[in-house]
Assembly symmetry: C2
Amino acid sequence: MNISDGGGEFALIERIKKLISIMGSEVVVGIGDDAAVIKTKSPNEYLLVTTDTLVVGQHFHTEWSSARKIGIKCAECNVSDIAAMGGKPTFLFVSLALPWETQVEWVEELYHGLAEVCERYGVSILGGDTTQGPAEIISITLLGKVDSANLCLRNHAQQGDLLVVTGSLGASAAGLHLQKSNLQVSPYLQKRHLTPHCRLEVAQKIAPFVNAMIDISDGLASEVNHICKKSKTGALIYASKIPLHDFVISAGEKLRLNPLDFALYGGEDFELLFSIRPEKLTKLDNMGIQYHVVGKVTDPNDGRYLITMAGEKVELGTSFHHFKKRMGKI
Amino acid sequence: MNISDGGGEFALIERIKKLISIMGSEVVVGIGDDAAVIKTKSPNEYLLVTTDTLVVGQHFHTEWSSARKIGIKCAECNVSDIAAMGGKPTFLFVSLALPWETQVEWVEELYHGLAEVCERYGVSILGGDTTQGPAEIISITLLGKVDSANLCLRNHAQQGDLLVVTGSLGASAAGLHLQKSNLQVSPYLQKRHLTPHCRLEVAQKIAPFVNAMIDISDGLASEVNHICKKSKTGALIYASKIPLHDFVISAGEKLRLNPLDFALYGGEDFELLFSIRPEKLTKLDNMGIQYHVVGKVTDPNDGRYLITMAGEKVELGTSFHHFKKRMGKI
């Protein structure tokens, strides 16, 4: 049975989970969040570890993006995982598989991009592994730390919480789809797709007040489902409340796609989705933080639904036939 | 300029090093040892991090090895890096790039192999990333811890130290070469090549007494050169003292190769090479530890030499035309 026939990535992940027995009392969270959480000698601080592998032609495209930009995206998407835990990134490790014919200048530019992001967030690159491979494959491991009081997990959502995002969605996917269709891509959408900035700064500020948090790497629908599944809750999302940039709406028109689908199923926005008690929103207001309430956490028996623009109540799926199925983090 | 033309992996690594500026006072060792060493809240304990990427057709062969055995080798070679620092492995993260047509059972078997090694050494698998890729590529990140007093670095060798290995060398490379030549491979050589056991237990015992330590993943010559370069010393190695198993000698005969070359340039033995004051060998004797003195650390001006079986003094190279050039850890 191959991975596709076996129910794809989620079925595979469920099978793998059963094979791995968590040992030791030092593990706070193993598999199943944006990063693993490990106790340290200090009771007030946890160690965070996240890994992400980016494959040429799948997660980045050398014909559309410079090596520097690829490096930026690789680093940002890992920092985003640490941000979503309420943490601060510290040390980055790079494993590269590269064809022999790779240009040395390309590798240097990739490191320039990685280093640029690391400098921005005070992260040190502490090495890694470089090996010959059939294609450009970049594996990043990023360590981080988090005050135990600020740790934000996917399973912390509570019924009655609001579901909130930190910015407009769908821009990365809209940029990608325009690019794939050989249509003109505005600088805004290009930037959101090729050199996204994650929300570390905002995450640090809101972490003390939110319940569950996750970064939006696989589309809003997928992330809402992750939180609900882990927290054993339902959810109601209002299509009318999902923030879309004008360029995303016009990309939808050009591509004859519903622009909301970019937000719901596109991914790689690297905004944050979090759940929070309604009364705590004033804390965010007081800090001048921009946010968009897109729905609420409901009783698990109420299921997970989207209220469409037409007012219909439809089940909140996780995939969409325009969007390629990918494997994901276990 | 491509990587081959640019002077290969070592030239690339030197270029990359210049791009990475180590920040922060928490870093004990960044790039350039078997693992990175990071301070923790406890002054007596350091955090260790090592990453290794293994590529199908390069580091493992699906036609010669089961997924379980591949998993074992991947985990062992990472534990070996932690062992060489004098440390204990703790948490393992797996990043897989896999073609869609990969069999689910193959992935499960791979995890069985990883889990088997992790159980042996008390390591927990805490997740990772699974993504679609052009070939099977396995990136492992392994965390570990080490008592600061037991930390063994490549740059700690001193003139007058003996250079010592923990077991016979060349078996993995001999097995590989027989396999490549479609010759019969004895179970011993098969085991040493496909499911090596690293020397964690011995490393833990000897760490308090040795100066420099490194694991033998790229051949004895390469590892001696690493230690000498980092410690700014010379070295003298005696071919007659390099321990070779009878099966390695007979593999050399069958393949018409000098069996010593398997030991010097073959790699993947996952034995340890260490430097130690001569008077401290009795400590190892008292613990009943098997070891083989293969040479000594000399003045840097004396260079790095091998005394051949014929008594000639030749420069200690790092490569050999039978052995494929690979890229390595930065």
